[in-house]
């Protein structure tokens, strides 16, 4: 499972401040620490200030420090374009959906770049409440991408989990959507996790178990905080439990290094 580090996001007040003040050391440190903690990609979002110019700055700043691939996170086509243009090497777009503005603005960029791509199962009528609606939107997304020769193996569909606090079955709806999307369309899946615990206490605890459940169903990527050693331990243990850690190499290595957080 791909781990996408979520920390370089301007909705986090400290990060927003660092972007505004062009604090090179802060950004590079956060990029470095996430990479060392095991992030395969780093999500970057600069939406809160001068988005397009900040995107250029942050991509350059990060890549002076680490060569971890970047996940360019924006709803603004110009910011995505700037991110792709500036970034060296492998890159991911986060995200398109079936919303008109994203289809018109971001889809053409993704088709041109043919890079890895996150797609949300939402359209102009909002986040769907049922499994069937999520499947239908995925079908429409896959259709559009296929018709335009987009390599579907680079697509990561996010079936958008809704808060459990609002309805008991929201996590279950996500699991079913995840399974069906993989079976029916053969594409990869991804989740941002944290929405599941919205409005509940002890959110990290819920997120952790949710992630373990999703991994068991074969989820291919997750956007999370790699500096949270408890969630990283949960990933390690879930891999061990699902035969994704041959001879328990990684688990035992982490154990010996004292990295497993009980």
């Amino acid at each position: 499972m791909l781990i996408i580090g979520e920390k370089l996001n301007s909705t986090i007040p400290q990060v927003r401040k660092a972007i505004k003040e062009k604090d090179v050391a802060f950004v590079q440190d956060l990029a470095k620490r996430q990479t060392e903690a095991g992030a395969d990609l780093l999500d970057v979002n600069t939406a809160m200030e001068d988005e397009v110019n900040d995107m250029k700055w942050i991509v350059e700043t990060i890549q002076q420090m680490v060569d971890t691939p970047l996940c360019i996170d924006s709803t603004n086509p110009k910011a995505i374009e700037m991110g792709l243009k500036t970034a060296q090497g492998r890159v991911m777009i986060n995200s398109i959906s079936m919303e008109k503005a994203r289809i018109e603005g971001i889809l053409p960029i993704a088709l041109d770049a043919k890079c890895e791509l996150v797609a949300l199962t939402t359209d102009d009528s909002g986040i769907p409440k049922t499994v069937d609606e999520r499947l239908a939107i995925t079908g429409r997304l896959v259709d559009v991408l296929e018709k335009n020769d987009f390599p579907l193996e680079k697509l990561y569909v996010d079936p958008l989990v809704l808060p459990l606090a609002v309805s008991n079955d929201n996590a279950l709806i996500f699991y079913q959507s995840l399974t069906e999307i993989k079976e029916r369309y053969g594409v990869k899946t991804i989740s941002g996790l944290s929405n599941v615990s919205h409005s509940l206490p002890q959110r990290r605890l819920i997120n952790r178990y949710f992630l373990a459940n999703c991994m068991n169903l074969g989820m291919d990527a997750a956007i999370l905080d790699p500096l949270d050693s408890k969630i990283m331990t949960a990933i390690m243990v879930t891999k061990l439990l699902t035969n994704k850690d041959r001879f328990a190499r990684n688990f035992l290595k982490s154990y010996r290094a004292g990295k497993l957080e009980d």
Binding site: D124, S125, G126, L162, P163, L164, A165, V166, N168, S199, L200, P201
Partner: protein, 209 residues
């Protein structure tokens, strides 16, 4: 009895609360009094939510118990003594926004707290708010929006209400996780609220004063 019933209900003891309601009905207690006890309990639930002791699933559960109690109490009521609603509240997610989770929770909380809620749905254009105020004479309007775009729609909607000469007859509260004093001032609303209970206490303040 009513007092301990209200306490049992606000402690979310489903089975006990239902049994107590049943018992009170059988012993000839006025159904209206029981429903008043429910209202006291819902007040308490709201307070616990505001204090961070209760969470959204607690609120929803309290509503479920309330529905079950109403189902056994209402058939015993004489028609004329229909439980009086506190007042009407119009609610909707403003134009160009489609987020409805928060709006639905607010609607639900207003409903179980004794308000008649006119829910206009999502992506509601300004005229629809204006028409609803004219038709229902509601004194409270709630506007919901999560997107930055929504703040312009709120402003536009409030301007439309003003232009129709209805601004003085309604109090307007805006809601959504990002709203604050600055956004309230920008839109011209009377209040803002970032959780459902604030909407309920605002409506109570307006309609019971």
């Amino acid at each position: 009895m009513i007092k301990s019933f209200a306490k049992t209900l606000s402690d979310l003891k489903e089975k006990e609360a239902l049994e107590m309601a049943q018992e009170m009905l059988e012993s000839g207690k006025d159904p209206l009094e029981i429903l008043n006890g429910c209202r006291t309990a819902m007040d308490e639930v709201g307070k616990k939510f505001e204090k961070g002791e209760y969470f959204i699933p607690d609120l929803i559960f309290s509503g479920e118990i309330l529905k079950e109690i109403s189902a056994i109490v209402k058939p015993k009521m004489v028609e004329e003594t229909e439980f009086e609603k506190i007042g009407k509240v119009i609610i909707g997610t403003v134009e160009d926004d489609i987020h409805d989770i928060g709006k639905n929770i607010v609607t639900f909380m207003l409903d179980i707290n004794g308000f008649e809620v006119i829910d206009l749905g999502i992506d509601v254009p300004p005229e629809k708010f204006v028409d609803a105020i004219k038709e229902t004479n509601a004194k409270v309007v709630g506007m919901c929006g999560l997107l930055t775009l929504a703040y312009d729609s709120m402003k536009k909607t409030i301007e439309a209400i003003d232009a129709s000469g209805l601004r003085d007859q309604v109090k307007i509260i805006i809601g959504g996780s990002q709203v604050n004093e600055e956004i309230k001032n920008y839109t011209g609303a009377d209040a803002y609220g970032s959780d459902a209970m604030l909407a309920v206490s605002f409506a109570k303040e307006v309609l019971q004063s």
